[in-house]
Symmetry: C2
Subunit: 359 residues, 2 copies
């Protein structure tokens, strides 16, 4: 058996207000005054006072990005091409500010600035040859674990799949819980549940080991504090959810996600369903696989008065179902983790069709 030599984020700063240190943190990484820092920022901040706190110098540039859709390979390639066209020199760094979409775009653009071809060519495992440009992750919503993971999940023309590589993780992460103030309740819940769900998938999976288990258990404890305990002060709740996301991401270092993610990838690929809510839609129907987790999930949904959308698959035709089923069944490591090597004895196209029809 070979164990992965896992690349951890080598620098992390944590604290309410730590975003104010960003200028100082990145300054030593500036190659020269013509080599800019490019800030990829969720466009919810476009007309917010927060945007003025971004420390621009010299030729640095902010690119606001709408995160209503999942990140795409074409989008990554266009961002890369645009940056290369505008600047004579490679950027000093790429700084992603936002949720999972912005985290993943920042990681992918940093990789593609240093590697030829299209990002499509690198979807998979360990296909990246050259180290990425310096890249920094600054989450403004908690739960995806993208700030600490070794992947960047992109939807391409043929598949939704991550660029999994040792060059993918951020060189620096800034964890400032204050940046998560003001997230709408539904989004807060869906994204937080991404964390809850991947912990359940990791902790009940066949790939689990003591390393991932310890991170997953702590992440789940923190999710429970945040989502099952209504009495936490807001600031403490934000801090704990940020740490839950961090540990949840680490918990997948040696394990894998499972059934919810495998099926939610199908939904996202066909319908563009956002990752957080897609996981919730699927997980709500997975009592068979995760009885305790789903029971608690339903309690949390009720407690926070959140609506889980339904009826997404009501009008789909056979070809569309087949597309979803193919994407989902292609996630072999996820199914293996969830159900073992013989997963195909449980999961058939017909079974998945039946399950999708309820969603």
């Amino acid at each position: 058996m070979t164990f992965r030599n896992f690349p951890m984020v080598p620098r992390v700063v944590f604290g309410c207000g730590s975003f104010n240190q960003l200028g100082e943190i990145i300054a030593p990484k500036r190659v020269n005054n013509n080599s800019p820092f490019i800030f990829l920022v969720d466009d919810v901040f476009q007309s917010s006072p927060f945007a003025e706190r971004i420390p621009l110098e010299h030729r640095d540039k902010i690119i606001f990005i709408n995160a209503d859709t999942e990140p795409k390979t074409s989008q990554v390639d266009e961002l890369r091409d645009g940056i290369k066209q505008e600047f004579d020199e490679l950027p000093s760094g790429i700084i992603g500010i936002g949720g999972g979409t912005l985290m993943d775009l920042a990681k992918a653009v940093a990789i593609m600035l240093a590697n030829p071809g299209s990002s499509v060519d690198y979807q998979g495992w360990d296909l990246v040859k050259n180290p990425a440009v310096y890249h920094v992750g600054i989450p403004t919503i908690s739960g995806t674990g993208a700030e600490v993971s070794r992947t960047t999940v992109l939807t391409g023309p043929e598949k939704k799949l991550g660029i999994n590589s040792d060059y993918t993780p951020f060189d620096q992460v800034v964890l400032d819980p204050d940046l998560c103030a003001g997230v709408p309740v539904n989004q807060w819940f869906y994204t937080g549940m991404d964390c809850y769900i991947h912990c359940i998938e990791s902790l009940t999976g066949t790939y689990l080991n003591a390393f991932s288990q310890s991170y997953g258990e702590k992440s789940l404890d923190l999710c429970n504090d945040v989502f099952c305990n209504g009495t936490l002060p807001e600031e403490e709740s934000r801090e704990k959810l940020m740490m839950a996301s961090w540990h949840g991401g680490m918990s997948i270092a040696y394990s894998q996600v499972g059934v919810a993610h495998a099926m939610s990838y199908g939904l996202s690929y066909l319908l563009g369903t956002r990752h957080g809510v897609g996981n919730c839609i699927v997980f709500d129907h997975l009592e068979e696989f995760y009885p305790e987790g789903v029971k608690q999930f339903k309690e949390m949904v009720d407690r926070h008065g959140v609506e889980i959308p339904g009826g997404l698959c009501a009008d789909l035709n056979d070809a569309e179902f087949d597309t979803m089923i193919n994407v989902s069944m292609g996630m072999v490591p996820l199914w293996e983790n969830a159900l073992g090597k013989d997963w195909k004895q449980v999961i058939t196209p017909r079974k998945l069709r039946n399950m999708y029809e309820k969603m």
Copy 2:
């Protein structure tokens, strides 16, 4: 307020048997065939079959080191000088295999191979100017957290103090729980309690934040599993204690240790008391500061039938007491963390003398 931009170990492999991957892991770091890897190895392995598993190539060298005494600045300087004398080129890397002493020696020697003068010059905070030589930590006993920390604690002619710097953490850690098989019970307990005690100190300290808290709580949970629950299979117990040590080390990233460490530094400095047992000796008398932690500690001592030495200070003279008290009171951040800015209103030389006299 400024938050530390914490350097994490950038690469970690975890798993029973993962030590077998060491050769493959370090191979890409070899500068050339004349630039050796130097393995600093606890001499308990000198005539063990384990030593034959160390992957030597070209001019690589094992230096066996007795870890019965705490690591010293003079020892670091001598190791550095010896390596420089024997080899024309700087080593490709320093690999520490053992407990906290070997971890700290490997970190310190790696720093001193790249920095002029004596290691004494770098005891303190952020005094190291040049990046250390590549260094790898492979713990064979769990609890110190030295595998993940930003310090290397050395006893010098005038003080016992760490080289705290961004260049101190290992570039690579190999966590192979199998390597901890066969540790004698007393040593297992004293070293494990180092972890337990610094979690208590961190979690009850005034420096605590949500980052450190989440790591500290998980570490403490794992310590409880290992030391308060007699039913764990040995392998699981080793795995959990290794993760407890890891998370415990991380918990101090943003916090500090406290009264037990401050006083135990005094014992070590004067009497050469080993760090783990020294912490136990002190902590056993700290009901006033850590009532719950000390209660549980005493239960664990009883449960495992471990003896905590006493009477160390019975024959000391006034000058010796004063030395211990001075060393201990010099650990200002530890006292501040434990008792706040006004700690000197509680901790006086007389008070410390009274406490030491009981030990």
